[in-house]
Symmetry: C2
Subunit: 429 residues, 2 copies
């Protein structure tokens, strides 16, 4: 217990504050588990004039140079978020020979490959357990505990904001705008909710998961993405009556060596464990050739759960430093071809508002039939005698997305069809 | 890709067969992930005369000496099960400088501390991910990913046989003897089911989990244990009506620095994730001061899931061997005092068959009141006019187990009481 292990924090916001608080509260425990105390040497902030309780003035700086000039800093913890300057800071820290722990999903999704190679080149480690699923251990289980498996699929609920909203829509029968307002009031959704509700945040996390699961280079642009803004209270009612929940599912799969990665709202059969993951909880289900299906569930966000993951990585690096263990090689990722969604097969749910008159279903069925799309069920859920309309809920057997899309275009063009509402894939059941 | 990493298997039964099959199927993949091929150099079996497909004659031996004399063997994989000779074999392998990977819950629960110290003394690793929860990553998440937490509790369903049986009792309304026969017919239960149905198997696994979670020395004798043999179809019916499932819960907790570890059937509120873990699935829920609650769920047994965990450990050791990384120090465990169950507080369910006459409940309530036990609900579920009996289901508010036990003894002695049936703790809700 002599020389402490020096740590620098980049960022002292929500997550940074959680990390600092946990480090203080657990100081003795961490010292015992590492074999040396951990010492926060530097904290990089934007505004050095702001008063921060519990932090000595001398550790605070707004200059990365000051951080990196401190030779006692061995581990740099990046918890500022956002792509820049975080990416540049991480790169410079690695190049300076510092181990880096980051919670940054955007940087890891967009630049993970480059940064991991940079870490290898400088014989340091870059760890990012906190970038996906908050406190849920998932990066490390995929990298280590399931490494003997050929992973065949990853299916996840990895955005707490939207899962909170979808759960509220399902339980309260509310519409999208209402639950968004509620989520914003509770602080679960940002004033500008785009990154969450359009699935951007989830696509970052899925790109990271796919990389680890399949050992392939995946960037967020490889992820086919659809948001939740078009969902209505009726979709949730129909889902329930059909025995499904609606979830924003992040799903990655290798099919014939091609990557299929999607973030989209989907019907999930109530018999599936993921259908019961409610509120702000996150869950990741991994399928492997040996293990079958395993599920990891827990709080996907929040300062303390995220600090749990950040500090797990910090302790891991610190224990290696104390033991003089060199970093293990990162497993090399290979390039992968992305399979377009049009070629991917799924069962589908489709809601169609039509004129309430004879022969309408026959015309829709004919279009589907010509595209070789087999109908699993048709239920007429609602008629509006005043408007003279009815609502058909159609579910299909497995069919390629491209064929369904073509059929939907033709159905939409029928004069007896007012609107094709949401078209959503169906999972399980 | 020159020198292979030599492996020896101790045992070639169900799990060993799974490991061999997975090693063969994944040979190229494992070579790529490790940086060198893995080679099975020796397989220790009891009966060398039995023909074994896919295994060269020269690797089979019934002598541990032959295994340990082979200098190319760097990793010994123990998958024979049982306490002896497995324990002795593991010890000798460690002493000979071999890294050991084991799936043996009994050996790790009873002798884990000694063996881990032995591994440290010989600068080798002893890994045992497969000893708890089959293919579910749980040992490594507790040792690494949740290490920043002060773990406050571990609650788990870690015996697939009994969970299959309890699920069947709940779903089919069957009695214990019938589901046991069904489980035996399906191969889920052994001809002698004692280790499963009496909670012995689960107590081994819980002892291992508690050690890792709390960094304390725990042996199976520290675990308070009750089996499922006394459960009846009626208990399941009452549970359902009260909004609970009945599960064989393994639960570990540190209360004021004292260990409380129990394996017992318990009422689990249906709102709890563990209540929905059905069939042969296993699940482990961990509570930590930073992370809150995380849940790990998956197949808790079977040759291939177990091989997934065994080979994860093998790959980890092999990658370290290739990189020349020395083993990390094991975190030292401290001695812990065990808190007797009589001092542990819980809510309870109790089923009492009484004479169907006025004043009976008053007498029972008086006894409970004198022990300071507060009644949460009393429901008279069944009356048998022929026998002149009624069945009372009583649930209590939180009360120390010792007080409840004293009250049960007095209630049992009442002349108007025919029988106090099961008394079970209640969790959640």
């Amino acid at each position: 217990m002599t020389q402490p292990v020096g740590i620098a924090l980049l960022g002292a916001g929500n997550v940074g504050g959680g990390v600092l608080q946990a480090l203080e509260r657990g100081a003795d425990r961490y010292a015992a588990r590492v074999g040396r105390p951990l010492e926060v040497r530097r904290v990089l902030v934007r505004d050095t004039s702001r008063k921060r309780t519990g932090l000595a003035r001398r550790v605070i700086t707004d200059s990365l140079d000051v951080v990196l000039e401190d030779d006692a800093v061995r581990i740099v913890v990046e918890v500022m978020g956002g792509e820049q300057p975080a990416f540049e800071h991480i790169r410079r820290a690695l190049e300076s020979g510092r181990h880096v722990v980051t919670a940054n999903k955007e940087v890891m999704a967009k630049h993970g490959g480059e940064l991991l190679r940079c870490a290898s080149a400088h014989s340091v480690r870059l760890l990012y357990e906190a970038s996906v699923g908050g406190g849920i251990p998932i990066i490390s289980p995929l990298s280590r505990d399931l490494l003997a498996n050929e992973i065949t699929g990853v299916t996840a609920i990895i955005n707490g904001t939207t899962n909170f909203m979808l759960t509220a829509m399902a339980q309260q029968g509310s519409d999208y705008a209402d639950v968004l307002a509620e989520a914003q009031r509770l602080g679960y959704a940002e004033p500008d909710p785009t990154a969450d509700v359009e699935g951007i945040d989830a696509s970052y996390k899925l790109a990271i998961l796919c990389g680890l699961a399949f050992h392939v280079d995946v960037t967020p642009t490889d992820v086919m993405r659809a948001g939740i803004t078009g969902l209505t209270a009726r979709d949730f009612r129909y889902a329930r009556e059909l025995g499904y929940a609606i979830k924003l599912l992040a799903s990655g799969r290798l099919i014939d060596g091609e990557l299929v990665a999607t973030v989209q709202p989907a019907f999930v059969a109530l018999s599936e464990p993921l259908a019961r993951v409610d509120g702000v909880l996150n869950a990741v289900q991994v399928e492997g050739d040996l293990v079958g299906r395993v599920l990891f569930e827990g709080p996907g966000a929040g300062p303390m759960p995220t600090a749990s993951a950040v500090l797990a990585d910090v302790l891991d690096v610190a224990r290696d430093l104390v033991a003089g263990r060199p970093p293990a090689e990162n497993i090399a990722y290979r390039r992968v071809r992305v399979r377009p969604a049009s070629k991917v097969t799924s069962r589908f749910y489709m809601r169609v508002t039509v004129a309430d008159q004879a022969g309408v279903l026959a015309r829709i069925a004919t279009i589907l039939g010509k595209q070789d799309i087999s109908i699993a069920s048709v239920i007429q859920f609602e008629t509006d005698p005043d408007a003279g309309t009815a609502e058909l809920v159609i579910t299909t057997h497995a069919t390629p997305g491209g064929k369904l899309e073509a059929a939907v275009r033709q159905i939409q063009a029928l004069p007896v069809v007012n609107e094709v509402g949401n078209v959503l894939p169906m999972v399980g059941g």
